[in-house]
């Protein structure tokens, strides 16, 4: 009985944690793979309803991973602003292939299947540029050595989760991630 209760509590805890960290799809976000040599998009797609994206058979070459987030996805939130006030603009966990970053009061997480891309090199290259109707976020420079499928996830996360990520000690400052 005690074991059952313990399992139930653990499951509930896991469910709540997963839910909290799960994040939301960013409506209208475009994920772009730019060719470094000519800055032309090699591939472009939108995230699906779970925030996932897939690029099929990317050939060897040098690329830049970029996101375009419409300004409409970033709304004012005083409560979030308070939490984010003294936090860094972003960080990355190289072992997991995850980057977190903030724009104004909105926080995002970007994951890719790094573990499957062993023959490729990803150097975090973080830069946020504000344009008329969107933010353009440079995420990383990629050197793809073999034709590969890039799978990933872009989600909006809460300011609390963003803080937790940075405080976990697994995320390094972006400029130190190369």
């Amino acid at each position: 009985m005690k074991i059952n209760a313990l399992i139930s509590t653990a499951l509930l805890f896991l469910a709540v944690t997963s839910y909290l960290f799960a994040g939301n799809k960013v409506d209208g976000a475009k994920i772009i793979i730019l060719q470094t040599n000519n800055q032309d998009p090699y591939a472009l797609d939108h995230t699906n309803e779970n925030g996932e994206f897939t690029f099929f058979d990317i050939p060897p070459g040098d690329y830049q991973l970029t996101i375009q987030i419409p300004k409409s996805a970033i709304v004012e939130d005083i409560e979030e602003r308070k939490i984010l006030k003294n936090l860094l603009d972003g960080g990355c966990d190289k072992s997991k292939g995850r980057m977190v970053f903030k724009i104004k009061e909105a926080c995002f997480a970007y994951d890719i299947n790094c573990e499957d891309l062993k023959k490729s090199k990803f150097a975090p290259f973080f830069k946020i540029t504000e344009q008329d109707s969107e933010y353009i976020i440079s995420i990383a420079k990629a050197e793809i050595a073999e034709t590969t499928i890039i799978k990933g996830l872009l989600q909006k996360i809460t300011a609390t989760n963003y803080k937790k990520c940075l405080e976990s000690g697994k995320f390094q400052l972006i400029p130190e991630c190369d």
């Binding site: 591939a43 939108h46 699906n48 897939t54 050939p59």
Partner: protein, 181 residues
Amino acid sequence: MKYNILILVVILFSTFICTARGGNKVNGAKIALFNSSNQEYHALNHTNEKGEFVFFDVPSGYYYLIIRIPKKVFVENLENREILKNLTDGGCDKSEGQMIFKIKDHCFSYKINCEDLIKSKFTPCLEITEEKDEYYVSIAYAEIIETVTIIGVFKNISTKSFKQYLESGKYSLCNEDDPIR
């Protein structure tokens, strides 16, 4: 023994047909889905080394299927020109979801997984526009009702194959008003 030879001949013949009609990847060609509501690209990609492409999880909406072919792909071929001279610019086999078309001395085929896209409507609309560095080819107008994955193959085919396709009677002229589904 006779039976074996027959099988061998059939296999050889099939291989020959596949090779003849197999086609090649078009280097540098971009395959795109253009959202007609907001006039922006929803997705864009290049074909892989077999000429294949995939667009995962395309949400409901109205799209144009587009190909952008760099001009450097087009080299002069007088023999091809002679064969193509009196042939129509393109045609489509709606039951197979395949369209073929020609630009100058070159022929192409574009095929998508129509049979899996039962709830969507594809209206062929072949329009070739010449731009500075590339040809911009509109293939079809798509009405996607439910989120779908579009899988396709885009290849360069020989002039002979193009002629054979048109002569098969399965390909009708493009620019028809009735949708594929």
